[in-house]
């Protein structure tokens, strides 16, 4: 019941508001406008389709068919799911991503797709790194000892910081003129790097500080998963002459499958929701290189008071996140069905 009130109701309300033009500052005035908000989001003037638009990304996306087929062959995927995935990938990467504004044309909302693209970039960069480093650290820390206990606490420590403290620390560290890192750079005779103002470095820098901030949480979850693996399996494997990598590959990884799935899904969802770090550190800059979807939604709702449009964008983000999570469960959770 509580779940219904606090989780489901806002989602339903967001969907409902997405069909209205609604002004945050004069809530009594609202107008049903059907799918206009979605047209504003997705569409534009003078759009054309070209096979070559963003082709490297689209080919990588289409290659996603291969693991789906492999998973199907191994019996991890039902035929229906396979067909759905193939159709979905072809639709998104083969067709939809070919649409772009032609000569003189433009998107209705010139910031919607770029900010969604930046969000995807963040998700794609941050998820493997934060999950992978979390796993590596958990493996290294999965041993008894006082020092290890202290380290575990230390690694978890940044996670308790609020985003404002986090950004204050890093804004200071990263400042080319005043920061510690800039001073270090100078001390070895190099020009300090403008981490947050170089459009190609800003997003990786955000990923790095997010790693520092949140990896401790994944470490704790992985450690819990590791402790659930029966030690006798390792002993038996050692007796059979398995080396460290074989033990990891054949005991640890299968034993962690569920934990890995959980952490990956949680991480992807968390990464899609990136906002605080970029909003405070770069405000979406430089040149929009770090403007992410949530910031765009926030600005639409609270700066421009366009509540209906912001709701529609949240619904889109919600659907994408649900879709990606469902794919995850399909691929990684396959053994459990």
């Amino acid at each position: 019941m509580v779940y219904l009130i606090f989780i489901l109701y806002p989602v339903i309300q967001a969907v409902w508001m997405g069909f209205y033009e609604r002004d945050l500052l004069s809530l009594d005035r609202q107008e049903f406008i059907g799918v206009d908000n979605y047209v504003e989001m997705f569409w534009g003037d003078g759009l054309v389709w070209k096979a070559g638009t963003m082709w490297p990304w689209r080919i990588i996306g289409l290659l996603g068919i291969i693991p789906a087929v492999v998973a199907f062959r191994r019996g991890r995927l039902r035929a229906g799911s396979l067909v759905a995935i193939i159709i979905g990938l072809i639709a998104v990467f083969g067709v939809i991503m070919g649409i772009h504004p032609g000569e003189g044309g433009r998107w209705n909302d010139s910031q919607f797709w770029p900010s969604f693209g930046n969000t995807l970039v963040f998700v794609i960069m941050s998820t493997p790194v934060i999950v992978g480093v979390g796993l590596a650290m958990a493996l290294a820390l999965n041993r008894p000892g006082r020092l290890v206990g202290v380290l575990r606490t230390l690694f978890f420590a940044p996670y308790v910081l609020s985003v404002s403290v986090l950004t204050l620390i890093w804004a200071f560290l990263l400042s080319p003129q005043l920061g510690l890192i800039g001073a270090f750079w100078r001390s070895i005779g190099l020009e300090p790097v403008s981490w947050l103002t170089d459009p190609s470095l800003a997003m990786p820098t955000i990923v790095a500080l997010t790693l520092w901030w949140t990896v401790g949480f994944n470490v704790v979850l992985f450690l819990a998963g590791l402790q659930d693996i029966d030690e006798s399996q390792y002993e038996a494997a050692s007796l059979d002459g398995a080396n460290g990598w074989q033990r990891f590959r054949h005991i640890t990884v299968p034993g962690l499958r569920r934990t890995l799935l959980l952490i990956t899904v949680l991480q992807i969802i968390a990464s899609f929701q990136i906002f605080g770090q970029v909003f405070i550190l770069t405000r979406g800059g430089p040149n929009g290189a770090t403007r992410v979807s949530i910031q765009h939604i926030y600005e639409a709702a609270f700066r421009d008071a366009q509540l209906g449009y912001a709701s529609a964008m949240s619904v889109f983000l919600f659907v994408v996140m649900v879709g990606v999570s469902a794919l995850q469960f399909n691929f990684m959770g396959g053994d459990n069905r």
Binding site: L24, L141, P144, S164, L173, T197
Partner: protein, 484 residues
């Protein structure tokens, strides 16, 4: 703790040692950061004058605001009318607790807090209680939420550039009658930019508290070394873009210093200079119908001047970096606002002068804005409450000299500008002209979004080398999207 561990999997000490090293460096980093977080926080407040900040604390602070309002309702059991007062400028209640002499203030925050203290110390049957106190990017989010959710302040601060968003929706109380009936407030005493700032379509919605604007903060020692001072030792003002570049050439030839500095990417300071330079040429950022028009010959010229200055600057410097480099003596001209004049007067270890942004074209003009006080309609419906709110406005009006003196902001009233209250305040005479040349941003709904788009596009020309014509065309399209 031990039984389920498998010590055999990783026996080498190296991973552990490496991790230890990593941890130590991170801890060191964190401590370093923590030590400075106070500093950073105060800088934040400073920068927050013109810049936004924390999104995170929002929900929390909005709650606090709501709580304190409730508290107020409870405490209001005495005879006093309690006014909820919403503002930014920071929190310093404890630093100046009990202080009622405005001359003791050293920061914006302290000035306004002391004015509030002094008002509450008077026996006037009204008590003012502050809600919020946060950086302003955050402030408007809270204020917007307050308007949507109903937990409103009785008196609040507002910039000129945000007034149309609220007044245009009928959320603010028209004040023409209140001012006409007041024996204290003389609206005609306000300067032209201040009057324009407070009005929308001929109706007055606000009491201007100041005009704040861009200034040239000059290191005169460097100017002198480059031979750019007049007979009295004052820095010579450039009168054309070419002359400005010549000054930079001279400074860089004669000294080690960087000629020009400002925040190149954080808070849209480049867009401010852009606005001023467009208006100096007689141009405007909007046309008669209210549509955005940055992509004009005047706009192209202004953007070219900015990119010319970038050659004599360091475009990786943001607000804080450029400020500290200037105070360190490494920058000859810093473009920043009125709000830092007193701070620089205290802290600069060189011959410091704050002066008008030079007029490079036909007529003087410089970016300006105004801090103003407004009364939300819904929280002032009770005549007793609105009378109390107006009484507080009158008190604030009387304290405009104290605000101008304590902060460096320009007094918006002719009688104060011409009076002797500010005569002994540092630097004020050097930038007196800015009082009349401050060019406000257009009074149109949705300007905040349009301004952000403009700032991002002009910034792109020096950060990423984006083509200037493309940037202005994109800016125009995006600004008009925002203006709707």
């Amino acid at each position: 703790m031990t039984s389920s561990y498998n010590p055999k999997t990783t026996n080498s000490p190296w991973p552990l040692l490496l991790m230890l090293l990593a941890v130590l460096s991170l801890v060191a980093a964190a401590c370093g950061g923590d030590d400075d977080s106070d500093d950073a926080a105060s800088e934040e407040t400073e920068a927050a004058e013109e810049a936004g900040a924390e999104a995170e604390a929002e929900a929390e602070e909005a709650e606090e605001a709501a709580d304190s309002e409730e508290e107020m309702a409870d405490e209001g059991s005495g005879d006093d009318i309690v006014l909820a007062f919403a503002r930014f400028f920071g929190d310093c209640e404890e630093d100046v607790a009990g202080v009622t002499d405005v001359n003791q203030a050293t920061t914006e925050c302290e000035v306004i807090q002391i004015i509030e203290n002094a008002f509450n110390a008077e026996d006037n049957g009204i008590r003012v209680e502050k809600i919020g106190g946060q950086a302003w990017g955050d402030y408007y989010t809270q204020l917007t939420t307050a308007f949507a959710g109903g937990e409103l302040p009785n008196v609040g601060v507002m910039h000129q550039h945000r007034l149309p968003d609220f007044a245009g929706r009928g959320l603010l109380m028209p004040l023409d009658d209140a001012f006409a009936n007041s024996s204290v407030i003389d609206f005609d005493d306000y300067t032209a930019p201040a009057q324009a700032a407070a009005q929308l379509d001929g109706t007055t919605y606000a009491l201007p508290f100041d005009i704040h604007a861009s200034l040239w903060h000059v290191n005169v020692d460097l100017f002198e070394a480059a031979g750019l001072t007049d007979g009295d030792g004052n820095p010579i003002a450039a009168t054309s873009p070419e002359e400005l570049i010549e000054q930079c050439e001279a400074i860089e030839a004669a000294t080690e210093a960087q000629c020009f500095g400002h925040d190149w990417f954080e808070f849209g300071v480049g867009a401010r200079l852009f606005l001023g330079l467009v208006q100096q040429q007689g141009g405007s950022l909007t046309d008669d119908s209210g549509a955005a028009t940055p992509n004009t010959p005047e706009g192209q010229e202004a953007l070219a001047v900015l990119n010319g200055l970038a050659e004599y600057s360091d475009v990786t410097q943001g607000y804080t970096d450029s400020q500290s480099a200037f105070l360190n003596g490494d920058i000859a001209i810093l473009h920043n606002g009125t709000w830092v004049v007193d701070q620089y007067s205290r802290e600069a270890g060189f011959n410091y002068v704050a002066t008008n942004v030079p007029t490079l074209y036909n007529s003087p003009s410089v970016w300006g804005d105004s801090h103003m006080w407004v009364l939300p309609m819904a929280s002032n419906e009770d005549p007793a409450v609105s009378a109390a709110s107006v009484a507080f406005l009158e008190y604030l009006y009387e304290n405009i000299p104290g605000w101008a003196k304590g902060t460096g902001h320009i007094a918006p009233r002719a009688s104060v500008l011409g009076g002797d209250e500010l005569a002994d305040a540092p630097q004020r005479a050097n930038y007196a002209d800015t009082a009349s040349s401050a060019g406000l941003v257009p009074s149109v709904e949705g300007w905040a979004g349009a301004w952000d788009a403009l700032a991002e596009e002009v910034n792109a020309t020096w950060i990423t080398g984006k083509d200037q014509d493309t940037a202005l065309a994109d800016a125009e399209a995006r600004m008009n999207d925002a203006l709707g």
